[in-house]
Symmetry: C2
């Protein structure tokens, strides 16, 4: 019988694992001895942090990347093909959601390996739930373009789409957050709603939804923080 491929979520930004990982997910994770991870050191560190007795040396870790070819993907899944349950670990949050892993999962489907997603934090979903914006019709864009003219064009395009009431979700790397928020305040209409969700699940978590004109009176301070942006110009 083939092993399963478990998708293992990890806490985000140093949050306490008991705040965001269910007890039985920890139990399943600690029962595994085969792991696929973006960064093996942090995977080991996590396992040690939830159980000091975890047999790190009796476990096998494979380093994955998002540019793996078909042969590598098949290699990662060889233990599962041989009957070993295998854990795919994210670096933070849910694997495959704005995070690597989807190629391995798709390969698992094609090999008839059962894929089991385990519950844990997903910053995008938590931010959307806490935004008060449209949680039934929404679109996630990942990163927006970096170059100023492309970025401005994309922001306007996204804002126009959201006139229908569809929430538009995107992210930025921490060191460019202050820049992106400036572009948003400059480019968008005064009445457009903008949620800035910073440091989701962390001590410093701060989630605020208000109009562009309200933000302008009191611009966000999000330099080097983890931020999810949600924009919505119209009502559904």
């Amino acid at each position: 019988m083939k092993g399963k491929l478990y998708l293992i979520p990890l806490p985000v930004g140093g949050a306490d694992y008991r705040d965001v990982i269910p007890g039985n997910v920890i139990r399943i994770t600690l029962g595994l001895r085969h792991f696929l991870a973006e960064d093996i050191r942090s995977a080991r560190r996590y396992l040690r942090s939830v159980s000091r007795d975890f047999p790190i040396d009796g476990s096998i870790f494979y380093k994955i990347s998002d540019i793996d070819d078909d042969k590598q993907l098949a290699g990662y899944l060889q233990p599962a093909m041989e009957g070993h349950d295998t854990g795919l670990l994210s670096e933070a949050g849910m694997p495959c959601i704005l995070d690597p892993g989807e190629k391995i999962v798709l390969k698992a489907h094609s090999l008839g390996i059962k894929v089991v997603p385990l519950t844990g934090p997903s910053s995008v979903f938590l931010a959307l739930a806490a935004s008060g914006l449209n949680g039934e019709n929404f679109r996630v864009h990942g990163y927006l373009p970096v170059q100023a003219p492309d970025l401005k064009r994309k922001i306007s395009e996204i804002e126009n789409r959201s006139m229908s009431g569809e929430a538009q979700v995107f992210i930025e790397t921490p060191f460019r957050n202050q820049r992106l928020s400036g572009f948003l305040l400059d480019t968008c209409r005064p009445g457009t709603m903008l949620c800035i969700a910073a440091d989701i699940t962390m001590e410093s978590e701060e989630i605020t939804t208000k109009t562009i004109s309200e933000w302008k009176k009191n611009p966000p301070q999000i330099n080097k923080r983890q931020v999810i942006y949600i924009l919505q110009a119209g009502q559904k």
Copy 2:
């Protein structure tokens, strides 16, 4: 000082809460005495199921709906304005994600009440992670139209959009799943990828991604099950 509005996720379809709800989320939930819920009976049942000693009679429950007016919304948040932490409970999964609650959350933002999303299961996100399809660019549509011509048109429109590699996520009520899957198999191109994620987090969970032509050889059996659909025609 104002109380906080906690967004409290619940297990889906009778899943064991220890599989999907972190220990500290249970702890926070049991510390509350003010609750907003779509269905008060099931909210009470849940609280009892995680702690037999929970003081149901010493707690206050407000029934919410998705058509509440501004005055009702302000009323729900009165306890928080007076300093009481308040829990907004979903019926299943995350509040506000394909579930009521977003109007209350938006009102909370306008009143300066801190909104705190707690980690728990979100079927849509778990399905997407386990689909192997695009977890960086995706669009969630909620329910598709019911009438046959509108439904066919919408499916084609969604499939065409996904030629760019953007994953398209939608849902259907359980008793119409078999019908919708028939329309999908009839309408879509043979090479389009379709993930059918049934009974997420439950014992009977089954998540399968394959092409329309593969599905046709072995059509899904999803009558009366909880299903998330994810369609993707092209690669990102």
